[in-house]
């Protein structure tokens, strides 16, 4: 049996990079700050999948009475997600160095 290795899709990579600055962001904010890399139709599904995998956590924002409507859901990367991002980035750098020669 092959060993299971966690992977990141391109969208997951962008999300983790944006959340990597240890701050909380909501879905639409991620779409805006990604500069077109994320779309509003896919970001929520991707975030849901990442939460299932343990890459991000989320919580409902305490809504102010003036705001009305549903509270926003804020997302934050987990230590596991940040570590995975760092390790994959490091692996990519090493691969680039190795094959650039």
């Amino acid at each position: 049996m092959r060993d299971w290795v966690p992977t990141l899709s391109a969208k997951e990579h962008v999300i983790l990079e944006l959340l990597g600055k240890s701050r909380e962001m909501y879905g639409l904010e991620l779409v805006t700050e990604s500069g077109g890399a994320l779309k509003r139709g896919t970001v929520y599904v991707t975030l849901g999948r990442m939460e299932e995998k343990g890459y991000v956590t989320s919580r409902a924002e305490e809504a102010s009475p003036a705001q009305g409507g549903l509270p926003r859901r804020l997302y934050q990367s987990t230590p596991y997600g940040r570590e995975l991002l760092a390790m994959l980035a490091s692996a990519r750098r090493r691969l680039a160095l190795r094959f650039a020669r």
């Binding site: 879905g27 599904v45 009305g68």
Partner: protein, 313 residues
């Protein structure tokens, strides 16, 4: 909850389980509402924001549904079996419906190419019947004697709706084109190849062609085509509910035969008695009857088994 997007959330609550609502639907709706409220400017600008957000909502819903299609492994297998059996039954039904006219009567002296063309023109005529019938057989064959879940209902609706869309396309383009080509081939045979233009009749018109005509026969035919397009949904719902109660193959086969017979007889009777009521009401009567009966049976199944619907999305 009120505000923009609340009706989308209410719709999603009917179909998805609470974790999906909490993790997927609520974040979309809350972002939609906040963006809408924060948008300054005229109403057109706000409508643009709403439109973009609605598109995003449906896209997210579609992606989520595709990724989680079939539900759990047992439900997914049933779903795949239902699709496979439906396609198979539809193919067999199409051949069975298109074959008799060729075998029994129509013979063209000009050779096999025209005979093949003629056979192809008969296929669109068979599809509006063979697709709903195939869907019923597929759903009935895929699962029996099971406890219905909300996922079963969603899967059945997906199959029914897809079938309805295909039938609509066939009735709009396939049948008019097929019928007109059929007439052209036969006329060319009769007139020794001379080109004769024949005005399309009711059977050579799709929805758009019939909508432009105002005579009573065209209006009746127009509503009949709409009712036929959506026949797959009520029939699929009824089959799902009936199939969950029946285990024996003979009883399942009998129920399908009886149901289809009753449906098409009711459609024929209601279409023939159109002068007694509004065309839209009379032609849709069989669909309404079967959809209501199917939903009532599904509801009763849920009440018997669980007291409340099991959620499976």
């Amino acid at each position: 909850m009120s505000g923009p997007g609340s009706w989308l959330r209410a719709f999603a609550v009917l179909l998805f389980r609470p974790p999906t609502i909490e993790r997927l639907i609520d974040p979309i709706i809350s972002d939609l509402q906040i963006e809408y409220n924060a948008t300054l400017g005229g109403s057109w600008r706000r409508r643009g924001v709403l439109l973009r957000a609605y598109c995003g909502f449906w896209k997210a819903l579609a992606i989520h549904t595709v990724l989680s299609v079939g539900g759990g492994s047992a439900e997914r297998n049933e779903f795949r079996r239902a699709i496979a059996f439906s396609c198979l039954a539809c193919a067999i039904g199409t051949v069975l419906l298109a074959l008799p006219p060729l075998v029994n009567g129509i013979r063209l002296p000009t050779g096999k190419t025209h005979q093949l063309m003629l056979a192809l023109t008969l296929i669109p005529q068979a599809l509006p019947i063979s697709i709903p019938v195939g869907v019923c057989i597929g759903i009935m064959s895929a699962g029996c004697g099971r406890t219905l879940t909300r996922r079963h209902l969603l899967n059945t609706l997906m199959i029914g709706f897809t079938a309805a869309c295909v039938v609509w396309v066939v009735l709009e383009w396939g049948v008019p084109l097929g019928n007109q080509t059929f007439r052209d081939i036969v006329i060319a045979e009769v007139t020794d190849g001379r080109v004769v233009h024949i005005e399309p009749g009711l059977n050579e018109l799709g929805f758009s062609g019939l909508a432009r005509r105002k005579d009573v026969a065209a209006v009746r035919h127009y509503h009949l085509l709409w009712a036929l397009s959506f026949a797959a949904i009520p029939l699929a719902m009824f089959t799902l509910a009936a199939g969950a109660r029946l285990r024996h193959p003979v009883s399942r086969g009998s129920v399908i035969l009886l149901m289809l017979f009753a449906y098409y007889v009711l459609l024929w009777v209601s279409h023939s008695s159109l002068r007694h009521g509004a065309p839209i009401l009379v032609t849709w009567a069989p669909n309404v009857v079967f959809l209501t009966a199917g939903l009532m049976l599904v509801w009763r199944q849920w009440a018997v088994h669980t007291g409340a619907p099991r959620i499976g999305v």
